[in-house]
């Protein structure tokens, strides 16, 4: 699964897939994949703090899919792919929830301390690139890229 514009923006060589897993879109399943995400980020050369940040960004994205995409209906699935690039890690999250219009996704302003909209804000604060696509064959595809330290 790739997108030419995204890969061009990342300006990095795609090396290999580290993890590919499909799991039920349930709130108690996200914790099962956190260790694999952290280890994968470390394998891509990210520092420990940055690797834990990537875990949080993926966690927040999964929460958005479960709560807003599938409306907490337990029947859906999430497909996660972690890809090693020469300069960092690309995360792909695919779901079969109703199509999301990226322009409707809002995250909070910096001075806003209301309890909501924090997840999307954290995703953008942590990752260097966050893009939404229509997935080939239907559903939504979220691609996020995190650059490892010391690369441009």
């Amino acid at each position: 699964m790739s997108n030419t514009a995204f890969d061009t923006a990342v300006q990095s060589e795609c090396l290999d897939t580290l993890l590919h897993v499909r799991f039920p879109a349930k709130v108690d399943r996200i914790k099962l994949i956190r260790p694999g995400i952290e280890r994968s980020a470390r394998m891509c050369g990210l520092a420990p703090d940055s690797s834990r940040d990537v875990v949080l960004a993926v966690d927040e994205a999964c929460q958005n899919i479960i709560v807003h995409g599938y409306q907490s209906d337990n029947g859906g699935e999430i497909e996660l792919t972690l890809i090693r690039y020469s300069t960092g890690i690309v995360v792909e999250l695919r779901d079969r929830a109703p199509i999301v219009d990226p322009s409707t996704i809002r995250h909070r302003a910096l001075n806003d301390i209301q309890p909501g909209k924090l997840g999307s804000y954290l995703m953008h604060a942590i990752m260097d690139r966050v893009e939404y696509f229509l997935a080939p064959g239907g559903g939504n595809l979220l691609r996020m890229y995190k650059r490892k330290e010391g690369t441009t």
Binding site: I30, K31, R34, D53, Q63, I113, P115, G119, Y121, L122
Partner: protein, 110 residues
């Protein structure tokens, strides 16, 4: 995730431990809001919080806002580096009063 609430003099101390995530946020929210209703000074001990995400942070924000609305105080104590990093990413590390431990929190309030 576990939580306990203790009364120390006139302060409610909520001890959170484990993963404060979307699965456990409803339970944390209930405990925090309950503590705010019952005390004028609420201290949230986060030393044993292993993981916190936006839903956990949202619980803390809601409790802080409720405390402020009734002129109560809410502070965080013993926030570990991982949780502090999430608060900083969310730019909330300056919104909450944060103390190293229970003693310094009590001293700050007196």
């Amino acid at each position: 995730m576990t939580e306990t609430v203790a009364q120390i003099t006139n302060r409610r101390v909520v001890h959170l431990a484990g993963e404060i995530d979307l699965e456990h946020a409803p339970q944390v929210r209930k405990v925090l809001l309950g503590a705010v209703e019952e005390g004028r000074m609420i201290l949230v001990d986060m030393a044993e919080v292993e993981y916190i995400d936006s839903s956990g942070i949202a619980c803390l924000i809601e409790a802080l806002q409720k405390a402020r609305a009734i002129s109560a105080d809410l502070a965080l104590i013993a926030v570990n580096p991982q949780a502090m990093r999430v608060l900083a990413l969310a730019r909330l590390d300056t919104v909450f009063a944060i103390h190293n431990d229970l003693t310094s929190a009590v001293q700050a309030a007196s």
